[in-house]
């Protein structure tokens, strides 16, 4: 017990450093240093036309555990500096994409102090110099490459201006109570220790306040601070044939209390244990094509992977990208009842918080609602300040994690259905399709854990969605839980088979990993019917179950039983 009290004090001490950060007007110091650099560098042959500084502070705490016991905890305060320095002009600058360019040897992102003017200015100065020299080298290469390559008919430019924005909000403090979190982790994972068939269990509570200070040479100054708390619970069992089966539940919110709702979490834990028990004996599914219903959460991940990544603007200009939807603008992709919108300004849906929202992106552009598919027709792309043909202005989706360059990324994805069916109607339609296609059953994807997609042209332009819970739905309406499949396909073909959507919207919050790092994203989507999907066998460990029985089950009545072995 004393140890946890110590940690509460420790946390307070370490947070002292972050609290003082607000005493210094870091935005002002950063802006003065940007101005000084621009002024001095103007005297050089190659002068920057744009510089931005972004400092990202993460104050993060984690408590993890398994089977009713805490296993580790940590607390980290870090501040990282990112500099975007551009030579040339908006039409051609040092960031111009080159085919097959070698990546630079990097020491990783620079850490920076933020509480003292001299220390902050010195760090900004040093890394501006590094960025300037790197930009000089890059720009020389770019100019040489452009001169020696075929001139495109129309060049869209490498960057776009955006009006000056000024915004500042109060810095949020991390609300981390290690003792409480430890108790919760122990409470939430304890039921797994009672279920002998659960082989592995892992859970953690993570709290993070990300505060960003952004300035650019145009005059924008932005300070945003966003808390994020996540509870992840994972459990694994092994079927008799050796297949490892894992389920994961996550809870995300902007305050710790919202993720630590005992009733909700314990219900999820009980359901995980029941589902794992059922999955152990569920039949394996062979590769299959046929009709399927995706639940709201599954639809969200499906759209995130299949459409979302392919409407990220930068993929329409990178030479190595397949640019799947580049030529589909103003063409029908989906049924007329479907629209797809990205809206980072939305904070919640039906009382559930959405983690993919933000006030300003990482280029100082305010978050904006973007209609990507309107009544089935592709209308736009997610844009950073890097323009593409026909889209020359950012719509506030230039995002990144610290240490990465900005690219256009997804935020909160909404799949909206006009004149939706009910869920029962959708199932009835599925049974019709099963009969029409002469299939023995259709599939129902009840829940998913995530997925991935390949968008480069050097490999098959495919996607893979990893389900957690899949059912066979038979023509008589009965359902059977199955295991061992992934939903796969190619984007244009699969989209052409999307038929209808229901009105049972669900939220899926997760962290998306792509070129500009890990970022929180959300989807809000209903169940949908797809006339034909394809599944393949999932990759999974097939090692044999443990040789000896669990020692825990043997020690009932032993002097070291649970009740008296806990100190």
């Amino acid at each position: 017990m004393k140890r946890y009290i110590c940690y509460a004090l420790l946390l307070q001490l370490l947070l002292l450093g972050t609290a003082t950060a607000t005493e210094l007007d870091a935005l002002d110091v950063m802006f003065r240093e940007v101005q000084r650099s621009m002024k001095v560098l103007k005297r050089h042959d190659e002068a920057p036309y744009y510089i931005s500084y972004e400092i990202t502070e993460d104050v993060a705490a984690t408590v993890s555990g398994a089977f009713g016991k805490a296993t580790s905890r940590n607390f980290i305060v870090s501040r990282y500096l990112d500099i975007d320095l551009r030579l040339g002009d908006y039409s051609l600058d040092n960031t111009h994409p080159l085919r097959g360019g070698l990546s630079e040897l990097s020491n990783g992102p620079a850490t920076t102090p933020i509480e003292d003017e001299e220390a902050l200015r010195t760090t900004l100065w040093l890394h501006t110099d590094v960025a300037y020299k790197q930009a000089l080298t890059q720009f020389t290469r770019v100019k040489s490459a452009v001169q020696s390559s075929v001139r495109p008919v129309f060049r869209v430019g490498d960057y776009s201006p955006y009006p000056v924005r000024k915004f500042s909000e109060a810095k949020v403090e991390l609300d981390a109570d290690f003792e409480h979190w430890r108790d919760k982790i122990q409470q939430y994972t304890e039921p797994f220790s009672e279920a002998e068939f659960i082989q592995d269990n892992y859970a953690y509570i993570f709290g993070d306040v990300e505060t960003r200070w952004f300035v650019n040479s145009d005059g924008s100054r932005i300070l945003v601070s966003k808390p994020y708390y996540r509870l992840v619970i994972q459990a694994t069992t092994k079927a008799d044939d050796g297949m490892e089966i894992s389920l994961e539940r996550t809870f995300d919110a902007s305050t710790p209390n919202k993720i630590l709702q005992d009733e909700q979490v314990m219900s999820a834990v009980r359901s995980m244990i029941e589902d794992l028990h059922a999955l152990r004996v569920a039949p394996l599914v062979e590769p299959y094509t046929g009709p399927a219903i995706l639940s709201g959460r599954s639809t969200g991940v499906f759209f995130h992977e299949v459409l979302g990544h392919r409407v990220e603007g930068h993929r329409q200009r990178l030479l190595d990208e397949a640019q799947t939807f580049h030529s589909q603008l103003n063409q029908r992709l989906l049924p007329r009842s479907f629209s797809v919108v990205f809206d980072p300004t939305e904070g919640s849906f039906d009382g559930v918080e959405l983690i993919g929202g933000y006030k300003y992106d990482n280029q100082g552009v305010e978050a904006q609602r973007v209609v990507v598919v309107d009544r089935g027709t592709l209308k736009g792309f997610l844009m950073s300040k890097t323009p593409i043909m026909g889209f020359y202005r950012s719509n506030g989706h230039g995002r990144k994690n610290y240490g990465y360059p900005v690219v256009s990324r997804q935020s909160n994805l909404f799949v909206e259905i006009r004149n939706p069916h009910t869920r029962d109607e959708l199932e009835a339609m599925l049974i019709e399709r099963i009969k029409e296609q002469g299939k023995p059953y259709g599939l129902y994807f009840a829940d998913v854990k995530g997925g991935f997609t390949l968008t480069a042209r050097s490999m098959p332009n495919a996607f893979n969605v990893n389900p957690l819970m899949v059912y066979r739905l038979y023509p008589d309406g009965s359902k059977e839980l199955v295991r061992g499949v992934d939903l796969i396909g190619t984007p244009l073909t699969t989209f052409s088979r999307v038929e209808a959507g229901a009105d049972d919207y669900e939220v899926f919050n997760d962290v998306c990993d792509a070129e500009s790092g890990q970022l929180p994203v959300s989807t809000v989507a209903p169940s949908i019917l797809i006339s034909q999907i394809e599944v393949q066998k999932t990759e999974s460990s097939r090692s044999i179950p443990p040789i000896l029985p669990s020692p825990v089950s043997r020690i009932d009545g032993h002097s070291g039983s649970r009740a008296d072995s806990e100190r």
């Binding site: 001490l13 296993t71 003292d116 900004l124 000896l548 020690i555």
Partner: protein
Amino acid sequence: MRRAGACAIALCWLALAGCLQAQESEGDILRRAMQDELDRSLSELQLEGEPKPYFISYTVTELESHSMRYVLGSHDSSSTNLRRTLFVAVRVGNSELDNTGFLDVSNDQIAINLGIIGTALPLRDNYDELRRVMWLATDAAYKAATKTYSAKRSALENQIVGSRTPDFSEEEPHLYLEESDQLGFSLEELAGIAREVSQAFADQPNVFASSAHVQSTVSSRTYLDTEGNHNRLYTPQCTVGATARTQALDGAAIHDSTYTYSRSCSDLPAIDSLRAKAVAMAQRLEARRDAEPLYVYSGPVLFEPDAAAHFLNQVLAKLLGATSVPETGNPQWDSNLEQVANPFVAKIDARVFPRTISVFNDPTISDYQGRPLLGSYAVDAEGMPTRRTELISNGILKTLLTTRDPVNKLVNSTGSHRGYGNPLPGNLFIQPESGLSMDELRTELIELAKENGSEFALLVRKMQSMEDFDGSESPLDELFQTQFAGGISAMPAIDVVKIYTDGREVQVLPLVVTDFVDSHFRDIVATSAETVHADVAISPFANMNILSLFTEGISALHGGKEFISIITPALLFEDLSLRSAVGFKPNLPAVPHPLAQD
């Protein structure tokens, strides 16, 4: 170090240390869980058609660390961590032939046997939960061991095998239990140290980047095996580091660092002394800005004692451990692996050093000239007691340090498993029969230069520290320079001066020793009479034999930081080759330093 004002937080830390102690004295649930699962696994764990394990060991490490980094008096980053890890080692077969020391290269794939499996343990002792984690980790380790054992037997069956050295040594069981020390030092005080030391670089606009960090760790290690070896160790450590970098006037990137280690933060020198050390380092760095480039050099080189200690840590320490070449069953692979084998293994009873130098390792010595030796320890990572080992006597290599993996005729452990696979020293003493004063050595250096017909010779005052790789300013360029230097690699010499035959000194930019081989040790022509002691943190890059990487991975059984203490005189080599360690030379900053302008 000032201890007043520690207030509630220091009391809190004292309570924390008390918790640690209380855990161990209260019933020893951990020990009982380890013993029960070991017993059950040894007697019952068996796959059909496969042998039972004949040896299992559990190592439980608990590490609590706090670190803080400051830049020019301002907080930059900090972290605190607490974790507990179980490592399981399983051997199947028997001590003559088991699953270890084998690299499976069949099917055109290299299957690296990491040997030891690590997994998270609950922070608080609960018998059931400890047993559950141990059960699953042992099961996984046993399955991996049987797979490797099967592959190894299969590979050996297809070739004529002469007399093999056994795979595991027979040792007497050893019991060693330590009680934890009371610790008392507040995090506030640690932050104060980092802040103060980082301010040493204020008002120095010619130092482009700088930082100071403090790290305090308390690690404990509990070891138990099926042969009855049992030990429990507590190791508090405290590190104060300061790093600074700038550019020489010709653009070359130069940097320097200074580290102070102690067993606990209470034992640190006074804060004024720590700050003064950082100030002196910054001044040396600034003085090196107008250093001359030197592209290649071949001739006599004198290492001052501290530089000699860091050089020997990188080029000698790993040679003093007997590491076997893993068996593969593939002649081409066997031949390739022989190329990177430790050359000292074949040189026992041969002369490897000048006749005037002897070398021994003695981790049982706790201090030297009144200063604690951080390389001292009682029991190694395999539960074996340490002892004094005479390694080189009057230049002749007598034996090597060993773990429980026998190598040729070296069949018993010297207690030298430091958690990195290959054996490493603890306290390494380089003992000259006689020595010169530093002035006499310098005169000798000049004489050698004259004999060579050279205008100058080189004096190395400081080597790059491997610790620098822990910081955010990792000198990747230097690592690259080192990797392409050939021979046994060592980090660059960062403080080097030319000593001209007329006595003049000219600072030169960093150099790296090239093509260094073990026979160069015989070219030590003189040493100083005075010896100094340097504590050097063990790093996988500098201290790990590549063969150990293949067979063991970086097991990190140590939990926290481990040290080698090297006690050495200055060393004068008759002939070494060096070349410039300066890579890309960027222009000087295009914008003046903000403080300089102000």
